[in-house]
Symmetry: C3
Subunit: 311 residues, 3 copies
């Protein structure tokens, strides 16, 4: 990844690249347990969070990561920006680059937007979620979290459960898990599954059938507005068939890892008791997010000469 300049999707990374990100994140994860949780690696670099969708959670994770590397951080949210005045995406991007930013962390409702930035800018582009398309740092932090809980991932089984069709978390996550040699299942009501089968993924609609065979149950967030679109009959019905509750958890393997990208709808896709159970790795995912984003920023912006600065 030393010679790579962007992180647009997990496809950009081969397995060796991924392992390098995960190893680097592991070093940074140790930094985060020190009293002074800060390293000077990216001093004098500027990272801009260019968010066309509001996401405090992801924006703050990148902000914390950049600050712990001693980078300066700028937040550019669309709602308060000149975008309202009709400036084009390209001109906004060129303006940021002209200010001398080194990395652009972009979230955009349109799939593919980060690839446009890559054409226009010299800065490193990090995709923080584009439409229903990709969310590569989420996929990497999920791998990190699974490795922490399970060790070796090769041959393990993960089920993504819920709105597979609209989920960039699932899309990037499935690619990443497959690249690490995992067996991937996708479980959802038929209307929330992709119309064309995903390569190498076993799909189904019966959660109870699948649970006993999984090492990881990855519960996706339900967007309430999908109900209005007629994607599922009712919240009660969805909850009855797809909520991970204590009863279902009781049928899983004893060491099963429960994951969720957040923010959770407690009582919808996941029961509150499950969210608080020891199987849940949900806050561990958040912590992993900071370490992974530090690793990616470090490798993209300062990696070549600075590997030893981590320690």
């Amino acid at each position: 990844m030393a010679e790579r300049r962007h992180l647009l999707d997990v496809d950009d990374l081969d397995r060796e690249d991924m392992e390098r990100v995960l190893d680097t994140a592991r070093s940074f994860s140790e930094v985060l347990h020190r009293p002074i949780k800060k390293v000077p690696s990216l001093r004098g670099k500027t990272v801009v969070n260019l968010f066309y969708e509001s996401s405090t959670r992801t924006r703050m994770s990148f902000e914390v990561a950049a600050k712990r590397l001693s980078a300066d951080v700028l937040n550019f949210n669309v709602s308060t920006s000149s975008v309202e005045k009709g400036e084009s995406f390209k001109d906004t991007a060129l303006t940021l680059e002209a200010m001398g930013v080194d990395a652009v962390v972009v979230r955009h409702p349109v799939a593919g937007a980060p690839w446009l930035l890559r054409q226009w800018l010299q800065a490193a582009i990090l995709n923080a979620g584009d439409g229903m398309h990709a969310h590569p740092t989420q996929a990497l932090l999920d791998l990190f979290t699974m490795q922490e809980r399970l060790g070796e991932l090769q041959g393990r089984t993960i089920a993504f459960v819920g709105d597979i069709l609209h989920s960039r978390v699932a899309r990037s996550g499935i690619k990443a898990c497959r690249a690490m040699g995992m067996k991937v299942l996708a479980v959802a009501p038929p209307t929330l599954l992709p119309p064309v089968a995903l390569e190498g993924v076993v799909t189904g609609s019966d959660l109870d059938d699948v649970i006993p065979h999984c090492d990881v149950l990855y519960m996706l967030r339900i967007q309430m507005e999908r109900q209005k679109e007629g994607r599922f009959p009712s919240l009660e019905e969805y909850t009855r068939l797809y909520q991970l509750n204590m009863q279902r958890l009781g049928k899983a393997r004893p060491q099963v890892v429960v994951m969720h990208p957040g923010p959770m709808n407690r009582g919808v896709e996941i029961a509150a008791e499950v969210a608080d159970a020891p199987h849940a790795a949900i806050t561990a995912q958040v912590s992993a997010g900071v370490a992974i984003r530090m690793a990616v920023l470090f490798l993209l912006l300062g990696g070549s000469e600075g590997g030893e600065k981590v320690a």
Copy 2:
């Protein structure tokens, strides 16, 4: 306070603790007059401002305080956050903690919210105002300001004037003044006084009667919406009976200190001339706010080993 981890209300502090905060704030106050107004005490620490009510003034005061201690600061405002997506207060808090924050400065419209955070989190919790309940750093900065003007506070008399009933400023301020041995009066229309007498506080509704006996006149902000609730007859009436104007100031002790927590309604609870008179310590309160918040952050996050770093 070295062994304390939170500041939820002034009840948390005995008189010795308060003196320690005030002394530490006095040291930091000197730092603020240097050309380089910054000390490295909290380098590598992260402070999050978690504000469920907008308050630029208090948020900025904490932000300045944290930055002058070299901490990193994150601002988390509800209006732009995933709280909109229905995430619970608890999950938001756990997410922040999982990102590795060391202190959470919380403002919340619900009384008691900071006590919930204390149950859930390992981080230091600082209450920056909860409902009509408490606002301890305001009370401490008020003590600091009074000490600067009056020296010893024991035996001095303060009158809180205005909307005592709904005021967290008054509630915490009264406790703090009583703990320092001050005589406390509360003056308001009967409808803006608490239905049950406050312990050790003399209440009344005649401001003119009280003015000549006070060392401090603490004018509370009038919330215009209280009029609609029928809490006072009219703004004109309120102003006539309770505004601190030049005529009333003329009947006060020559060294009387006029205070207000801000933002002021000039011409309502305080006349513009009084706000600009030498008796007013209102901007001094703002300056004290930065020093007090530096002191509290320092004592909670870095106090034990770092006392000498202040100088």
Copy 3:
């Protein structure tokens, strides 16, 4: 400028002052091409962006500039501030000063607002745009950009094209260009020209007539709402007569410099092809903005003792 404490309009600066700002900006411009784009000149200083109009572009430019000088930056936007609670401009300003800020960068819809701040505060005041009145850092960054492209400006010809009447960019820019010995033209529909002639400025309404004689074509942003006010007949008409398109550019001098303060309405005042042509210095203006704002902050806050710190 060492003895000056504010930058309110370009009138504050004589030609020697301007040259000093431009020279200092040139030094900082080199810093911005280093791997570590940061100097410690303003460590321990606090700069507040006090914005009563939203302008992500200008606010970010000042924020980047201050951070590259190692200052701390606070953003104070009206929409989320206690200004909503009715606090006066003066009290907001006094509050910021009491927090110990060293410089206030102010944008305000009312012409003259920064001059009020100068009366009230000890801090350095930088005008980031007041009403239709002045925008001095824009004028300085425009000079910087022209010098980079053209070298010596004395005797060069610039045409400001568009809504001269309502433009603070034009107002400050015209003064700055005249101070540097340039010949200044103003081209607009008669309804968008000032009713009283600007001193030393040749005004006209025929863009095609003017183009062949200019070294710089400065295209102003059209505010769409002016059409409703009856200031110009229709967008089509305006575009036909005043848009800088490729055909018009073909009649200009070969080395003509095309400028725009941003954000652009591509296809209105400027054709997309022109915005992307090599003549356009629009992103260069953005880069110059950071260097100029670093220079101004440095000279106002740290200039006397610190000139050598730049290098």
